[in-house]
């Protein structure tokens, strides 16, 4: 630096990240980001985590963001480095996760010449970003990074890509902290329309069978307290989407569990029979609604609260739309309801009916006849051993659905899972990011033997930085969810879903320098989990679970959510959840 304010673009990136409060970033070096890595070499308040594959960097940043509520940051070089981020960017986009991805780009004068490691990254990522920048000059770096953080974290959160040519990293600029984002076309609506809020309050007090259907928007807005206060004040039961798990304490009587394809019987029946559906921070996704024309058929009114106006009316036309941040709108709704006269016991009969369904249709599973471990039991043991206080991260597939069903989530950001994109390989790197963001929490990554193998190289990252995540592999030797569909709908033709050759996961973990364990009987599950957590080391536990167990209840794709398979068998063991 020639003077305190003169610096290179690369140094301005570091200074800007620090100014935004970023303390951790996940990355992997390469040719055009050498200047940036040189600047990071001197960074004091910025922790760089070297992953083993760029996909690990973006998922770890995503997991960090989900666990903390802060913006996750990842860094990759041009070309293959940047394209390796694409899956993770799409994942963050579908789940509305605040993420800033910084990618190196070839020299500005070489852009468009098919230069070495050149890829049109802003072009490739265009459909899967909230916004993106191709930096034109070093001077604009502080403003661009400031805007990127603002865009990623406000309104409906999402990923922002900043593509920086190496020439901009090397050029000098005079660093000034931006005086704010200058975005003429970006002003998210925060507060809900007063008249609409009033109309919603009236509808709630008129309803006899209301249901709150809440999703990730409640988590990202930090609206769990307002939600609970509202639900309790007007005695409205709550069902959550996969992204909304943790928005309500599932041990509470008003909680119905998750709805949709693998939702609880009670939640799906409740939505089917409700006379008022109150959607908050949800998008009426096909995995939730099933056959759209048969969704909530008795609802006389649908209230839809969402920060993104484009979600309102996209799949379902609400009678009372409210655009705004879930926390502000729920608080306003609560204030409105507190002022009004509320007839007592209005929903009592409805709640009683729901309690009846909970008793009649509890979750259930049977102990495997072959003496292996029931996968559902592992999830129950995770809850028991951790006292229900652990952060649960998952991969994608059957183990993910069992994790939604057999653990009672209690607080926001406790549940971290790839919802919209359904990205296998998300679990381990996301768990590393989550643990780095929440070192005070036990972090368990529930994974499958299929998904774990997609990003298992990140065990090295966990060992490198001593990030003590516990990976619980529910190993059934199958790509279980696809096998389940083949079982139920494709005449048991298990085409390429049996993983015939597998590594020894415990030995593999040891090879990485992590702790490796294997469990093949139910009696050992709890002790193994306890030992893994107490070890304070990254640990992989290979649970040999029943090979052909299916996830139930299940609504076949495209059918009404009341058309459930396996929801009504009598209760045998386990599964206290509704």
């Amino acid at each position: 630096m020639t003077s305190p304010l003169k610096m290179k673009g690369a140094q301005a990136i570091v200074a800007s990240l620090e100014a935004e409060g970023c303390d951790t970033l996940f990355g992997f070096p390469g040719g055009v980001v050498i200047p940036l890595y040189d600047a990071l070499y001197d960074a004091t308040s910025l922790r760089h985590i070297l992953v083993r594959h760029e996909q690990g960097a973006v998922h770890a940043a995503d997991g960090y963001a989900r666990a903390t509520g802060k913006v996750g940051v990842c860094l990759a070089t041009s070309g293959p480095g940047a394209t390796n981020l694409v899956t993770g960017i799409a994942n963050a986009y579908l789940d509305s996760i605040p993420l800033v991805a910084i990618t190196g780009q070839v020299r500005a004068d070489l852009i468009g010449t098919d230069a070495f490691q050149e890829a049109d990254v802003t072009g490739i990522t265009l459909p899967i970003v909230k916004h993106s920048y191709l930096v034109q000059s070093a001077a604009e770096i502080p403003q661009v990074i400031h805007e990127a953080f603002h865009i990623a974290s406000t309104g409906r959160p999402g990923p922002v890509v900043i593509d920086v040519p190496v020439t901009a990293e090397l050029a000098e600029l005079t660093y000034r902290r931006p005086d704010g984002p200058h975005l003429a076309g970006y002003k998210p609506t925060v507060e809900g329309h007063v008249k609409q809020v009033r109309a919603a309050a009236r509808a709630i007090l008129e309803a006899e069978r209301p249901v709150l259907y809440v999703g990730g928007g409640v988590i990202s807005a930090g609206a769990a307290d307002e939600l609970r206060a509202l639900a309790e004040l007007v005695q409205v039961p709550v069902t959550t989407t996969l992204m909304g798990l943790g928005a309500v304490d599932e041990r509470e009587p008003l909680a119905l569990g998750m709805l949709g394809m693998h939702g609880t019987v009670t939640a799906n029946y409740a939505v089917h029979e409700c006379d008022l559906l109150i959607g908050v921070g949800v998008r009426f996704d096909d995995r939730v609604t099933g056959k759209l024309s048969a969704f909530a058929p008795q609802a006389k009114a649908i209230i839809h609260i969402d920060v993104d106006p484009a979600e309102i009316g996209k799949n379902v036309e609400p009678s009372i739309p409210i655009v705004g941040d879930a926390r502000y709108v729920l608080a306003a709704l609560l204030a409105e309801l507190e002022k009004m006269e509320r007839p007592a016991g209005r929903t009592a009969a409805w709640l009683q009916k729901l309690e009846g369904w909970k008793t009649e249709y509890p979750l259930h599973y049977e102990q495997p006849a072959d003496g292996t471990v029931a996968p559902q039991f592992v999830i129950e043991e995770i809850e028991r051993v951790t006292g229900g206080d652990a952060v649960i991260v998952t991969d994608v597939g059957q183990h993910q659905m069992w994790s939604t069903l057999y653990f009672h989530y209690r607080f926001p950001r406790q549940w971290i899972s790839s919802g919209g994109l359904g990205t296998m390989g998300f679990g381990l790197p996301a768990a590393i990011g989550a643990k780095l963001g929440r070192p005070d929490k036990t972090v368990i990554d529930v994974s499958g033997d299929g998904g774990f193998q997609m990003t298992m190289q990140e065990l090295a990252t966990a060992v490198n930085y001593n990030v003590p995540v516990v990976v619980a592999i529910l190993n059934n030797g199958y790509l279980g969810m696809v096998r389940q569909w083949q079982d139920l709908f494709w005449n048991k033709r298990y085409s390429f879903t049996c993983i015939e050759v597998q590594p020894d996961f415990a030995m593999l973990a040891e090879a990485f320098g992590a702790k490796g364990m294997r469990v093949s009987s139910s009696g050992d599950v709890g002790d193994a989990l306890r030992e893994a957590i107490d070890s304070g080391r990254p640990t992989v536990i290979d649970f040999k679970v029943a090979a052909e167990e299916n996830v139930f209840p299940m609504v076949p794709a495209g059918q009404s959510i009341t058309e459930m398979i396996g929801g009504k068998a009598p209760r045998k063991t386990g599964g206290a959840k509704p």
Binding site: T122, G123, L126, P127, K130, H131, L134, Q136, I151, L183, A184, G185, Y186, D308, P309, A310, I312, G313, K314
Partner: protein, 159 residues
């Protein structure tokens, strides 16, 4: 019903790609799109025509609004909108046909902007239906080449 959207966007690289990409991936068909600098050099104005029967116009405008570079969108009311489109037409015009072309051009207030031995080039400005009518008349004579700018539009009165 056909909708004409007047979309004010930031005059920055890549904005047209963002708008076009959005229409493509959401499956909205653009009938025409014209773009150029507005009264403020930092902003460009796009005029987009789209079939509202085919796509819910509400969803189109909401999705457009989500683009950070989109500053303002107006769904123009056809009753209070002036529209125009520019078209260049090259017509085969030898012998007797030349007079026919010149007469038609006169009626449509089209300018002859290029004269060759075997062809004439016409330049005409007007609303879409006028351009269609002109083309229809010239077709039997022999239209060689046509290029159109796409419609541009602006609301009447202030604001």
């Amino acid at each position: 019903m056909k909708h004409t959207l007047s979309v004010l966007v930031e005059n920055k690289p890549g904005v047209l790609t963002r708008v076009a990409g959005l229409f493509a991936r959401r499956g909205f068909n653009i009938e025409s799109l014209a773009v150029g600098e507005s009264e403020d050099p930092r902003l460009s104005r796009m005029t987009i025509t789209i079939d509202g029967a085919e796509h819910p116009i509400d969803q189109v405008t909401k999705q457009l609004h989500k683009l950070i570079n989109v500053v303002k969108i107006r769904d123009l009311d056809p009753q209070h909108t002036v529209t125009a489109e520019l078209m260049l037409i090259k017509v085969a015009a030898e012998g007797d046909k030349r007079t026919d072309v010149l007469q038609i051009a006169e009626i449509f207030k089209a300018k002859i902007v290029d004269v060759e031995r075997r062809s004439l080039m016409l330049r005409v400005v007007g609303a879409g239906d006028k351009l269609e009518a002109l083309l229809e008349l010239l077709q039997p004579i022999g239209v060689l080449e046509v290029t159109r700018t796409g419609m541009i539009a602006i609301g009447r009165g202030r604001g």
